[in-house]
């Protein structure tokens, strides 16, 4: 019990001390987000405990580069996903897909919400805005276990846009725990 907790704390410490991890506009992350108009700005860092191991998430926010699809959005959000010494960049809110109409204001919460076919799923709650309202967008990413990379789980995210309830991680676990959105 103590060992996983220690690992989680160690990962959080690693994220906090990650090169440039607390520096707004860190150019070190720019290479991970070629969609960005400029260096992504750090939003927040969180560690998510998976069934096996942990993954570190660094949320960044950026304006999309000219030429990127921009419907109603001013800012996109991405994740720097760190696990096993590897860092991956993933645009989560704003680019073409289920969140393309949103302007991302920042990550509110993240957590493991279950798995599908053995692939862990992480639920993410983002504060976002449309031209008319602010809302909480529930987004799902899942691990492609063969490729070893995290991907947007668009079917699950799409499913969540159509159901009742106030978005929360428990709400996501419940909604997707019944085999829906697959």
């Amino acid at each position: 019990m103590i060992r996983p907790l220690f690992r989680l704390l160690a990962l959080l410490a690693m994220l906090a001390a990650a090169p440039g991890g607390a520096v707004a506009g860190d150019a070190g992350y720019a290479a991970l987000f070629p969609q960005a108009a400029g260096p992504p700005v750090l939003d927040k860092s969180v560690a998510v405990a998976l069934t096996a191991g942990q993954v570190g998430l660094i949320s960044v926010r950026f304006a999309p580069a000219p030429g990127q699809s921009q419907m109603f959005n001013s800012f996109w959000c991405g994740l720097v996903i760190k696990s096993a010494g590897h860092a991956q960049g993933l645009v989560v809110v704003g680019e073409p897909g289920p969140t393309e109409t949103l302007s991302c204001l920042g990550l509110q919460a993240a957590g493991m919400i279950g798995s599908l076919g053995g692939a862990p799923r992480i639920g993410l709650l983002y504060k976002a805005s449309s031209p008319n309202a602010e809302s909480i967008a529930a987004v799902v990413i899942t691990l492609d276990t063969k490729a070893g990379i995290w991907k947007n789980d668009d079917p699950a995210t799409n499913y969540l846009t159509g159901i009742a309830g106030t978005p929360s991680l428990d709400w996501m676990r419940h909604a997707l725990g019944h085999g829906d959105g697959d």
Binding site: A63, Q70, M71, F72, S74, F75, G97, P98, E100, T101, L102, S103, L105, G106, A128, S129, S130, P131, N132, A133, E134, S135, I136, A137, N158, L160, T161, G162, I163, A164, G165, T166, P167
Partner: protein, 297 residues
Amino acid sequence: MDVISASVGDGGKNIEADVKTVQNLLTRHVMWLVPLMAPAVTGKVDVGTVMCIRQFQDTAAALLHPDGVVSPHGFTIKQLARPMIPPPSHPIFTQSKFTPAPGGLTKADFDAAAKTLGCESAAIQAVAQVETQQAAFDALGRPTILYERHYFSGFTKDAYDATHPDISNPVSGGYGLFSAQYPKLHRAAVLDETAALKSASWGAFQIMGANFQEAGFTSVGDFVTAMMQSEKRHLDAFVSFIPNKPGALPALKALNWAGFAQAYNGDGYAANAYDTKMANAYNALSPPKPPPHAVKK
């Protein structure tokens, strides 16, 4: 008294009298079954009856997930029992071709708008640049919209929250794909056309249909018709709307971008950097002022 006593359709109890009732009701609403024909009234559930139920649920009940089953207390039987379900009638729903006037906004359009509002032409052009980063019309020529489910929930007094949560929900959000906006609007219009038109933001400036009066129209239908016509009509609506947004016009006249963005975009303006973008756009559009002459004594 219930219209049917038990479920009818795919996997239902399918009591003969109930099945006949549903088949008769489907026949009453045959216009919603196109391209299918009305089912034969046999009292037996067959593939054709189930297909008709699904089609009705999709078109006339506006359900996101038609399941082919009519429950005694569900939304489908409630719709089926109506004497008639009028289809949405606004041209945005009935037209198959959309031909907005070609061309965007010109300097003359902005000059005229500025004259009406009593502000600088560059100021209103800067606002337009920031507020209209999306196209005014979509690929089909329809005005660009964003559907807001929490508006529809409010206008319909939560009547559809339980049965249609993706289009009627007290919680804002759930927008989905840009291409999903018109299908959502259409489904909402099947339930309540006026509430649906008021629950989307329209055109280059994304003015909510609910604000049709502030935008200078006597009905939301007229507002939407104007939105279908040209980008100039979008600007006209925006010019009418600005003085009705408390604090917006004085801020625009004073080039107080934070004040304008707060009045027009709400408290989230800073997080989206609307004020900074407007200031930058204005500075790029407005010719630099000559430095003041030194006063010689």
